[in-house]
C-alpha cells in the first residue's frame, strides 16, 4: 500500500474540480458552450427552440452527434415540448412558478431524466450520450437519457470459449454487460454502484456485488482504491487493473478478468465483486486467488469427475509450462545421471553436433516460439494459423537438421508452448511464459539446485501476494483452517458437496445449499441402496 501513497499523495488538491454554475440566461449558457467549452467541437449539435403558448420560454437541447438516439429526441423531447406542450393548458400559476417541474413531470415523455447543477456535470453527461436540456431562466440543466449508439451485438467470448455452457459474452457497452449479469441474478441484494474513473476519459465503472455476501471491508477498500485512481484516461479494464491491484510490480495477475457473464455472476454469488468497465468486454473480478485463475466456467457445467481430472491436468500443465525447458537444461548440462541410461546416450548422440551449450539451445528455441506466437497474434486469422504451423514445423525441423538444436529440445519447447495454452487464464499464462525464462537461467547457473531456489523465490513471492486482503495462494496456505475451500481447487467436488462459500464470504454467510436440498440428496442415495 505504500506505493499508493507515493503515487497519489497529492491527489486531494489535484482532484478538486472547479464547479461552474450555469447562468440563468440561456444565451449566456449557450455562448459558454459554443465559444468556450465546446469550441471546435463540431460533433456537438445545438437546437434552440421556444416553448409555451406564446413562445414565452426559450430552451435548447445539446447533444453529441452519433451518441444519441435521434428518434428519441425528435419524438419524445422535441415533439413533446414544441407541440404537445402547447395542447395542454396549464394553470397560469404553475406556468409561472414551476415551468421546469411541469416540463419534467408532465411534458417530457422520456423514461429517464435528471438534473445537474454544474456545467461540468452536464458536459460529462452529454459526452456519455445524454441530451442536455437548457431552459432560459432556469439554473439547472436537465439531462435527458438518450443514449443510443451503434454497438457490437452480443457474441461468443473468444478468450474463454467453452463447449458446454452459455455462449453470450460481454460487449463494449457497460449497460449491456450489467444487464447480462442482472439477468442471471434476480435478487434485490445484487447492487450495482457506478463510479467514474479517468479525469478526461470519465470512464463508467459499475461495481456489482451481493450486498449480504460481499465483504464490507473489501467494498471499502475497493471504494478507496477506485477513488484514488488519478489518471487521465482508462481505456480498458487492463489499465484499471494495474491501478487498483495490490502489487503492480508482481508478474502475477492479482485481478481476474472475464468476458463471460456467467463467470462474473458466479463470482458475485461467491461474495466477490465484479467491476464492469465501459468500452471493454473484459470485466474485472476481485479478489482473485491463484486458484480462481485456474478455474474455467466449464468445470461447473461438466460432470464433476471429468472436471476434477481436467483440473488436475491443468495444474500439471502449469508445471510443464514452467519447468520443462529448465529441467531439460538442468538435466542435460548438470545431472545426466537422472535420466535413464539409454535416453542419456541417445541424447548425447543427437546432441553431439549441436555446438552450443544447452542453455543457448533452449534460448534459441524458446525465443523462436515466442516470436511465432507474437507474430501469430498480429497476422490476420487465416494466414496466422498457417504461418504458425509452417513456421513451427519448418523451423523446428530445419533447426534439428542444421544441427543448431537437438530434437528433444524441439519436443520440449513444443510441449511447453502447448501446455501454456491449457491454462484457462491468458494473463496467468503470459506471466508463466516470462517466469519460465527466469527458471531457465537459474537452471543454467546451478542445475536442479538453481531450479529449486528459483521455485522457492516464486513460492515466497506468491505467498506474500494478496489480492484485496485475500492471500493469493488461498486456500492452500491455510488448508487446515479453510479445509472446505479445498473442494474447489485441484479437484472439483460434486455440487452437492460444495455446500459452503469460500474465504470471500463472511463467516455467517457461508451456507450455500439449504438443508432441504442436502436431505433430498440423502434420501435418493438411500433409496438406491
Amino acid at each position: 500500500m505504500k506505493f499508493w501513497k507515493k503515487l497519489f499523495g497529492k491527489k486531494e488538491s489535484k482532484k478538486e474540480q472547479q464547479d461552474t454554475k450555469p447562468y440563468k440566461s440561456l444565451e449566456k449558457n449557450l455562448k459558454l458552450f459554443k465559444e468556450e467549452l465546446l469550441k471546435d467541437c463540431d460533433d456537438v449539435v445545438y437546437r434552440e427552440f421556444t416553448v409555451g403558448k406564446n413562445d414565452a420560454y426559450k430552451a435548447a437541447v445539446v447533444w453529441i452527434d452519433g451518441l444519441v438516439d435521434k428518434a428519441l429526441i425528435n419524438n419524445f423531447v422535441m415533439e413533446s415540448m414544441m407541440i404537445d406542450a402547447r395542447l395542454v393548458e396549464p394553470k397560469p400559476s404553475a406556468l409561472k412558478d414551476n415551468l421546469v417541474d411541469l416540463l419534467k413531470n408532465k411534458t417530457l415523455a422520456v423514461s429517464e431524466i435528471g438534473e445537474v447543477d454544474t456545467i461540468e456535470d452536464a458536459l460529462v453527461n452529454v459526452f456519455s450520450g445524454e441530451t442536455a436540456l437548457l431552459i432560459d431562466g432556469y439554473e439547472k440543466i436537465i439531462i435527458v437519457n438518450s443514449r443510443g449508439w451503434e454497438s457490437r451485438g452480443i457474441s461468443e467470448p473468444e478468450t474463454e470459449a467453452v463447449i458446454r455452457g452459455p455462449r453470450d459474452g460481454f460487449t463494449e457497452t457497460m449497460r449491456f454487460n450489467t444487464s447480462l449479469i442482472r439477468r442471471r441474478i434476480r435478487d434485490h441484494r445484487l447492487k450495482v454502484k457506478n463510479y467514474r474513473v479517468g479525469k478526461r476519459s470519465q470512464t463508467d465503472i459499475a461495481v456489482m456485488y451481493m450486498e449480504d455476501i460481499a465483504n464490507k471491508k473489501l467494498l471499502q477498500e475497493l471504494d478507496i482504491r477506485l477513488n484514488n485512481v488519478d489518471v487521465d484516461a482508462i481505456l480498458d479494464s487492463g489499465q484499471l487493473e494495474e491501478f487498483i491491484e495490490d502489487k503492480w510490480l508482481s508478474l502475477f495477475p492479482q485481478i481476474q478478468n472475464t468476458e463471460r457473464p456467467d463467470t462474473a455472476a458466479s463470482a458475485i454469488f461467491h461474495g466477490r465483486v465484479v467491476l464492469v468497465v465501459d468500452n471493454t468486454p473484459f470485466s474485472l473480478i476481485v479478489p482473485t486467488t491463484f486458484n480462481t485463475l485456474m478455474q474455467s466456467a466449464e468445470d461447473y457445467y461438466e460432470r464433476w469427475d471429468i472436471a476434477t481430472a481436467i483440473r488436475a491436468l491443468r495444474y500439471f500443465c502449469i508445471l510443464i509450462a514452467l519447468y520443462a525447458p529448465a529441467l531439460y537444461v538442468g538435466i542435460t548440462s548438470f545431472h545426466p545421471q537422472m535420466i535413464p541410461t539409454d535416453l542419456a546416450l541417445a541424447l548425447a548422440a543427437t546432441r553431439r553436433s549441436v555446438p552450443f551449450p544447452a542453455i543457448v539451445e533452449a534460448l534459441i528455441m524458446e525465443v523462436t516460439i515466442e516470436i511465432l506466437r507474437e507474430a501469430g497474434v498480429r497476422l490476420p486469422g487465416a494466414i496466422g494459423s498457417t504461418i504458425g504451423i509452417v513456421g513451427g514445423l519448418v523451423i523446428g525441423q530445419a533447426a534439428v537438421e542444421a544441427g543448431i538444436v537437438g530434437p528433444l529440445m524441439v519436443i520440449v519447447v513444443a510441449i511447453t508452448a502447448i501446455a501454456s495454452f491449457a491454462i484457462p487464464n491468458y494473463n496467468l499464462a503470459i506471466s508463466l511464459r516470462l517466469i519460465r525464462f527466469g527458471l531457465l537461467f537459474a537452471a543454467a547457473a546451478f542445475g536442479l539446485y538453481g531450479i529449486m531456489l528459483a521455485t522457492l523465490i516464486i513460492l515466497i513471492h506468491l505467498c506474500s501476494l494478496k489480492s484485496f486482503g485475500i492471500p493469493y495462494l488461498s486456500p492452500f496456505i491455510a488448508f487446515v483452517q479453510d479445509a472446505s475451500d479445498l473442494k474447489d481447487t485441484m479437484v472439483r467436488v460434486p455440487h452437492i458437496m460444495m455446500n459452503k462459500r469460500d474465504i470471500n464470504a463472511p463467516k455467517d454467510e457461508k451456507g450455500r445449499l439449504d438443508d432441504h436440498q442436502e436431505e433430498s440428496f440423502d434420501i435418493e442415495e438411500g433409496e438406491e441402496d
Binding site: 541410461t341 542419456a344 541417445a346 546432441r351 547457473a445 546451478f446 523465490i457
Partner: protein, 403 residues
C-alpha cells in the same frame, strides 16, 4: 522496493558469475558403463616385445604406453564407454575400451582424461567386474570397493561380478545380441528370468554383507567368444576370494539364503515301467532358519518352502498327472534333490571354505541375541562345527495344459 532490487541484483550476480563449474553438456561426457579392475601385472617380456612393434601400436590406439616397473602401477582399469556415434549409425565400433594402469581408481580416472576429450562420468555405470587377482588380495579388494562406495555418482544398484582370470577379458567381448558390452551386461543382471545359478550381485547388498562380517558371495562372470555368461559365484571370506561355487551349488546357496529367483529343476521320475525326465519350474516361497533349542550344541534347521509347475512329462503317459499320488511322488523327488544339493553346498562351505555365507550368523544375531554374543567373537571357528539340517517342502500346484 530498493531492497528488493538489491537482493535481486545480488542473486543475478551470483548466478551470472557461477554456472561454469558444473555445467558439462550431455555430449561432453564419457559415460563409463562398465568398469573392470585387474591387478597390474608386468607383461611377459616376449609378449611385450611382440606388442611393441610400431604397426601394432597404431592399430590399437586405445592401448597406453605402460611404463614397466613403476611401483605406482598396482591396478589395471578397463573402462567401457559406449560410442554414441555407433548409436546413430555413424561408426562401426560399439564400444570404446580404455585401459589405464594406476595406483587407485581416482588417479587412474584422472590420467584417463589426458587421453580422451570427454569428462569421465560414472553416473551411468552399470556393472563392476573385478578380476580374480584383485579379489584374492584383501587389501586391494577393500580399497577398490571403498572407492566405489564413497563415490557419489556410482549408484548402489550397480551389479558386481568377479571374473576368473581378468576383468578386461570379459569386457573386451562384444556380445552378438547387443554389442554395447556395458548395456548388455546391465541387462543380463537385470533379467528377471535369470536363473538362480548365480548370486544377485547387487552392489548395495554386497556392501551390506561385507560391512557386517566381511563375508559374502559375488556372482561369477565368464567370457565366451561372442557372449558373456553370469553363472556360479565367488566366495569372499574376510574381504578375500577364497574359492568358487559351481552353478548348482550357487543355486542351493541362493535357496538357503532366501534370495533365489524362480528357476527350474529337473528330476527323474521312476514310473511303473519307465523313467521320465520331469523338469519343474519352481518358485521359492520362503526360506527360514530355526534354532533347535533342545540340543546344547548349536543346531539350526533350514526350512524351505517352494511351489512348482510341471513343465514336461511325456506324451500319453500310463499314469497321468491328474493323480495326486503321482504329484506327491514328484514333490518328494524335488524335495530330495533340493535337499541333496543344499547339503552338499553346506558341507562345502563348512568344511572346505569354513565361511558362513549362509546367513546363520545374521539369523542368530537377530533372533537369538542372548546366544549370539557368546559365539560372535570366534564364529569362524564355531561355524564349521555347527549342525545344519535342511527341511524342504514342495507343492506342485500346476501341471500345464495336458493331463
Amino acid at each position: 522496493m530498493k531492497k528488493h532490487m538489491i537482493l535481486l541484483a545480488l542473486l543475478m550476480m551470483t548466478s551470472a558469475f557461477t554456472g561454469c563449474w558444473d555445467a558439462i553438456e550431455i555430449d561432453q561426457r564419457g559415460y563409463v558403463m562398465s568398469l573392470g579392475i585387474d591387478k597390474y601385472e608386468i607383461p611377459p617380456p616376449g609378449k611385450s616385445e611382440e606388442g611393441n612393434s610400431p604397426e601394432e601400436e597404431a592399430a590399437v590406439p586405445t592401448m597406453a604406453h605402460i611404463p614397466e616397473d613403476n611401483p605406482r602401477n598396482r591396478f589395471s582399469f578397463t573402462y567401457v564407454i559406449p560410442n554414441v556415434e555407433f548409436l546413430v549409425g555413424e561408426s562401426e565400433n560399439p564400444n570404446i575400451l580404455y585401459n589405464t594402469v594406476g595406483e587407485n581408481l581416482y588417479s587412474a580416472s584422472r590420467i584417463l582424461t589426458t587421453r580422451i576429450n570427454k569428462q569421465v562420468f560414472f553416473g551411468h555405470m552399470k556393472v563392476l567386474v573385478i578380476g580374480e587377482t584383485v579379489a584374492r588380495d584383501p587389501d586391494m579388494l577393500r580399497e577398490v570397493l571403498d572407492a566405489i562406495e564413497r563415490d557419489q555418482f556410482i549408484s548402489r544398484r550397480i551389479s558386481v561380478a568377479i571374473a576368473p582370470d581378468t576383468a578386461r577379458g570379459v569386457l573386451e567381448v562384444e556380445p552378438l545380441i547387443n554389442p554395447m558390452t556395458g548395456q548388455f551386461m546391465a541387462d543380463l543382471f537385470r533379467n528377471k528370468d535369470r536363473s538362480p545359478r548365480s548370486g544377485g550381485g547387487i552392489m548395495g547388498d554386497v556392501f551390506e554383507e561385507l560391512h557386517r562380517w566381511g563375508n559374502t558371495v559375488i556372482p561369477r562372470v565368464i567370457p565366451g567368444e561372442e557372449d558373456i555368461k553370469v553363472a556360479g559365484s565367488a566366495v569372499i571370506k574376510n574381504y578375500r576370494l577364497i574359492g568358487w561355487l559351481g552353478e548348482v551349488e550357487t543355486r542351493a546357496l541362493e535357496i538357503i539364503r532366501g534370495t533365489a529367483r524362480p528357476g527350474g529343476l529337473t528330476v527323474k521320475h521312476q514310473g511303473k515301467d519307465e523313467e521320465h525326465i520331469v523338469p519343474i519350474d519352481l518358485i521359492y516361497l520362503s526360506s527360514e532358519f530355526k534354532l533347535d533349542k533342545t540340543s546344547d550344541k548349536i543346531r539350526v534347521i533350514k526350512e524351505v518352502k517352494t511351489t512348482g509347475e510341471v513343465k514336461q512329462f511325456i506324451l500319453d503317459p500310463h499314469q497321468d498327472l491328474m493323480e495326486p499320488q503321482l504329484i506327491r511322488e514328484l514333490e518328494a523327488l524335488v524335495c530330495e534333490k533340493i535337499k541333496k544339493e543344499m547339503k552338499e553346498t553346506i558341507r562345502k562351505l563348512q568344511e572346505e571354505f569354513q565361511v558362513d555365507v549362509l546367513g546363520v550368523d545374521h539369523y542368530l544375531s537377530k533372533y537369538h541375541p542372548k546366544l549370539w554374543p557368546e559365539v560372535e567373537e570366534d564364529w569362524d571357528e564355531v561355524f564349521p562345527h555347527i549342525e545344519i539340517n535342511v527341511d524342504v517342502e514342495t507343492k506342485i500346484r500346476r501341471v500345464g495344459l495336458t493331463k
